[in-house]
C-alpha cells in the first residue's frame, strides 16, 4: 500500500477552530455535556453522545483496497453499507486482535452541503458508559509540541478520579474524508 499517513499538516482547519465554539455551546446547554466513553488500551476517550448513533459488536468487515491503513473496510449495517475505521491505527497505536469486548461505535455527522447524514463506524476496545461532564470540568488541550497531534482532541474531561480525552467527531471523521479525497485526486491525475 502506498497510502499517505495522516499528517498534522493535512488536518482540516475546522478542527482547530471548533473546540472554542463547542465550549461556548456547552455553556448554554447541559445536554451537550453527555459523552460516551470507551477505552483504547489503558486510556479512556469520549465522543459527544449526540454524534453516536448506535453501538454494535464486531461483524464481518470487507476490506477496502487503496484506502488509508486505518480504514478497516465496509460493513453491512442493516442493508446500508458504511465504512469502518480502526481508531487505534488512526491514533498511531498498535492494533490488537478483536475479542468479545471489541465494539464498533457508529457515529453520525450531518453533511450540511448535501443535507445528508454521514455515518461511519469506529472500532474501539471496549465501551464504558455515558458520562455527564459539566463544562467547568473540561480543560483545554495542553500543547504537546510536535510529538503529538492534538487536532482530534477537543478537551480533557475530569470525571470523578479519572481523565477522559474528549474527541472531536468531525475532526476524526473529516480527516478521514480529506485523506481519501487526496488519494483519489492522485488517481485522477494518474489516469
Amino acid at each position: 500500500m502506498n497510502t499517505p499517513q495522516a499528517s498534522p499538516a493535512s488536518s482540516p482547519t475546522a478542527a482547530s477552530s471548533s473546540p472554542q465554539e463547542l465550549v461556548i455551546d456547552g455553556a448554554g446547554s447541559d445536554t451537550g455535556n453527555k459523552f460516551l466513553t470507551f477505552t483504547l488500551g489503558p486510556e479512556e476517550y469520549g465522543f459527544e453522545i449526540l454524534n453516536v448513533r448506535e453501538i454494535i459488536g464486531v461483524v464481518d468487515i470487507t476490506p477496502l483496497p487503496q484506502s488509508p491503513d486505518y480504514v478497516r473496510g465496509v460493513i453491512n449495517l442493516r442493508g446500508r453499507i458504511i465504512p469502518v475505521m480502526e481508531l487505534r491505527t488512526r491514533f498511531g497505536l498498535d492494533t490488537i486482535p478483536y475479542d468479545e469486548e471489541t465494539c464498533i461505535i457508529v457515529l453520525e455527522v450531518s453533511d450540511e452541503e448535501n443535507d445528508e447524514a454521514f455515518q461511519m463506524g469506529v472500532v474501539v476496545d471496549t465501551v464504558n458508559e455515558v458520562l455527564d461532564i459539566p463544562t467547568g470540568s473540561i480543560d483545554p488541550t495542553p500543547r504537546f509540541g510536535s510529538t503529538l497531534d492534538t487536532n482530534f482532541i477537543f478537551g480533557l474531561g475530569k470525571a470523578r478520579d479519572r481523565v477522559v480525552t474528549l474527541l472531536e467527531v468531525e475532526a476524526v471523521l473529516a480527516g478521514e474524508i480529506q485523506d481519501l479525497t487526496g488519494e483519489s485526486d492522485e488517481f485522477a491525475d494518474a489516469a
Binding site: 477496502l64 453491512n76 453499507i81 465504512p83 474524508i177 483519489s184
Partner: protein, 904 residues
Amino acid sequence: MSIAPLVREIGSLAAAIDQSDLPGLVELQEKLELLLTMDDAAPVESLSETAIEHAGSIILREAEDEAAAFEALCAAVDGITAQIASDGPNALAEEDIDVELLEAWLSATVDHLAILESTAVGLEGPGDVDGELLAEARRIVHTIKGEAGFLSLELVRVACHKVESLIDARLQADLAFPGEELLALVDWLKRCLDALSRDALGGLPDAGLLLDQIRVAATRCNVVEQSALTEQADASGTSSAPPTSVAPTVAHVRLPMEASGAADETPPGNHAPVPHASFDDPAPVTYPDDLGMDENLGDFIGEAREHLTAAEDAVLILEQTPEEAEPLGTVFRAFHTVKGVAGFMNLVPIVELAHEAETLLDHARNGRITLDSDRLDCVLRACDMLESLVATLEGESAPTCGSLNKLVFELRQHLQDPPASQGSAAEAAVTGDAPNLARNAAAEPNRHPDSNANANISTGTPATPRPAADGSTIVEPSAAPAKLSATGQADENKARRARIESTVKVSTSRLDNLVTMVGELVIAQQMILQDPSIQSLDGQRVQRNLSQVSKIVRDLQGVSMALSMVPVKSTFQKMARLVRDTAVKGGKKIAFVMEGEDTELDRNVVEAIGDPLVHMIRNACDHGIESPDVRVAAGKSDTGSLCLSAFHQGGSIVIEIRDDGGGLNRERILKKAIERGLLPGDTDPSDLSDSEIDNLIFQPGFSTAEKITDISGRGVGMDVVRKNIEALRGKVEITSRPGEGSTFSMRLPLTMAIIDGMVVSVGDERFVLPTLAIEQSFRPTAKDLESTMGRGEMARVRGKLLPIHRLASIFDLTATTTDLTEGLLLVIESTDGRFCLSVDEIIGQQQVVIKSLGEGLPAIQGVAGGAILGDGRVALILDVMGLSYAARREAETPRTPALSGIES
C-alpha cells in the same frame, strides 16, 4: 382594487375584436374610460386617452382609415398592458399569488414548453404547414397565456398573446410559420420558469428583446399582408381565411367574448332567445376522434374528477356563506384548470361548458353579480355535466348535445344582474319554449344516439359560427356527416376504456425508498435460503413454500423496478430543437427522425444521458452531415437525415444516433491522433483496425474540426461522452462507412439500481463483476501464458495476446494461489481495450443491488460500489474501466510480484 384585472380584460378584449365589431369597440371604450377613473391609472393615462380617441373615431365613422386607426388603438392597448406588466409583474403577482397553483403551473408549463418546442421545430420544416401540429402549438401558447393571465404573470401573458396573434397574422397572410419567434418565446419562457422556480416573487427576465423581435416580425407581416390585400382585392377573401383545422380554436376564443359583451349591453327583455332547436338535440356529445392518441387523457380524467369534487364541496360552502372569497376561488380555479387542460387536449365540449361556468364565477368574484341559490344550482349542474362529460371519455354514455346547450345558455343568462330581471329573462326564454323543453326532457331518458349522428355539437370537423339575432354566436352543429356510426362509437368507447389507466402521483423519495426496501427484501430472502439450518431441513413443504416466497420476491422486484422507468421521449424531444439550431447555424439541411421514443429507461439514466446525447447529436450535425452543396456533389439529397432511436436488445437499452453524412474520415483521424500524440508510443499506425481508428475520437483532447466553431471542435466532447456513459455502466460504439454515414450506439443498463453480476473470489474476499463486461472465462494452461521482461504477463486468447492483470495485486490481497494455471482468467472487454483479469474462482452469477460505499467517501479506483451478498457480507462491485487504469498504475510500481504461473 388594482387596475391589473381591468387592464387584462382590456387586453383580451382588444385581441378579440376587429375594427368592424362595433359593440366590441364600444365596450372597449367604456372599459378604457373606467380605467381612467381609477387611482393607479396615472402611468397609462395618455395611452388610454389615445386609445379612447381612436376607438371613438372608428365608432363614429370619423376615421379616415379605419384599419390604421384600429392598428393605433391596438398599439395603445398593447402599450398599456406592457406598461402595467413592466411596472412589475411582481406587484401584480404578490396580491393574489397562490404558491401551490404556481407550482402546478410551473410543472405543467415545463411539459408544455417541451412539446411546444418540438412542435415549433416540426412546423418550421419545409413543406406545407401540418394542421395538427399547428393546432397543437396554438393550443399550448393559448393555454400558457390563459394560465399566466390567471396567475397574474402579466408579462408572460402579453408575450404569449403577441406570439399567438403573430401566428394568426402570418397564417392569414399565407406566410411562413414564425418558428423563430415561437422558439424565442419558448426560450424566454424557460428563463421565466427558472426565475419563478427560484423565487416566486422575484422578477421575470427581461422580455424587451423578445417583444421587439415579435414586433418586427409582426410589422413585416402586416406590410406583406396589406400589399397582398390590395393586390388581390376580393380574391384574397379565401386565401386569408385561416386553415380549417384552426377554426374550432378561433371560435372558442371569440365566442365567449362576444356573447358576454352582448349580454352586458342588450337589455334583458330584448335578449333574443337562442334557437331552441339546439336544446332538444338528442345526439350524444362527442369529442374529436383523435383523442385516443393522447396518453395524458388518463391523467386528465383523474385530475378533473379531483377538481370537480373540490368545486362541489366549495359550492356547498358557498350556499351557506355566499360572500366567502375562498371557496369561490376554489370553484373558479377548478373550472379554470379543467378548462385549461381540456383545451390543451381539444376536448371542446368540456372547454365550452367550463368556460361559461368560469365566466359566471368570474363575474361573481368581481362583485358584478351575487351568487344566489339559482346560480349556485346552475354551477352545481355544470359540475355534474362536466363530470358526465369526463365520464364519457372513459366510455360512459354521453349526455345529449341538447342538455349541454341548455346548460350553457342558462349559464349565460345568469350572467346578468339584477337576478330578478335575469330570472324573468330566463323565464321568458324558458316558458316561451315550455312545450319544447318538456319534450326535450321527455326525450332525454331514451336517447337515440344514432337518430341524429351528424348533429354533433363539436366534432373534429370545423364548426361554423352562425350569428344569432342579438349578435351572439352559437356554434352550430357541423353539416358534415359524423365519421362514426353508433356501433363504431361503442367500440371506440370500449377501446378507450381499456386504454385509460388511473394513476396516482407519488413522490420520488417514496419510490426510491420502496425500491431500496425491496432490495433489502431480496437480500434477506437470500440470507434465509442460504442459512445452513434452513438448508438442513428436508421437509418438502418448507422447500415448496420457500420457492413460492422466492417467486413472489422476484415478481415484487420486477414491479418495483418498473415503477421508476420513464420513457426517453422527453429527452429525445429536446434533441429536435438542438438539431434545428445546429443546422441553422451551420447552414445545413437536416431531417430529424425519432424512433422508439416510448422505450422506457430508469429515470436516473434518462436524466444522465441528456449531456452525452447533446454532444453526440451536435457532432453528428456539425461533423457528420455535410453542407448541402457537398452533399449534392456527392450525389446525395441536399437534406441530410439524422435518426435518433431507442430499442431493447439483450437486457439492455440501445440508443442509436444514425446519420447519412460523410462518415468518419479515418485518414484524418489517424493523422490528427499522431499529431497530438494520442497513440501509445509503440503503436504502428498501420496495425490499427478501422474500428480502433474510429475509437480514437474518444481520446481526450481529440478534435478533427478544421476550424473550431462554437458548436464543437474543442476536443472536449467525445471523451466526456464516453466517460459519462461508462459512469452509467454503459458502452458506446461507432460504426462508420465512408460516404454513407456513421452510427453511434450507446448500450445502457435498464436500471441503475441492480446489475447482473458475476461473483468471483480472491482469497477470502469476493467481488462482483458486471456480467456485461465479461467476454469469456477460462482456466489457462502453461502454454497459454507468456511474459516479457519478467513482469508483463500475457495470455493467448484466440490467437491474440492480452495483458493479464491480477486482481490480487491490484488490490493488494492475498490470493489462494499465485499460480495462474490454478486460477481463472476472465477476458474483460472495456473501452480501454481487452485484458485478462486473474481471479481464484467464479462463485456464481446473481443480480445484486448496487449500494454506495457510505456517503461522503470518494470513489475508489476500480470499485463501482458495494453489494450485500446472501450471507449478509459486503462484496465490492468492480468497475472494469477503473480496474484497467489501476492495473497500469500498479504495473508502474516495482512491487509487482514476480511471475510464478509461467515458470510452473
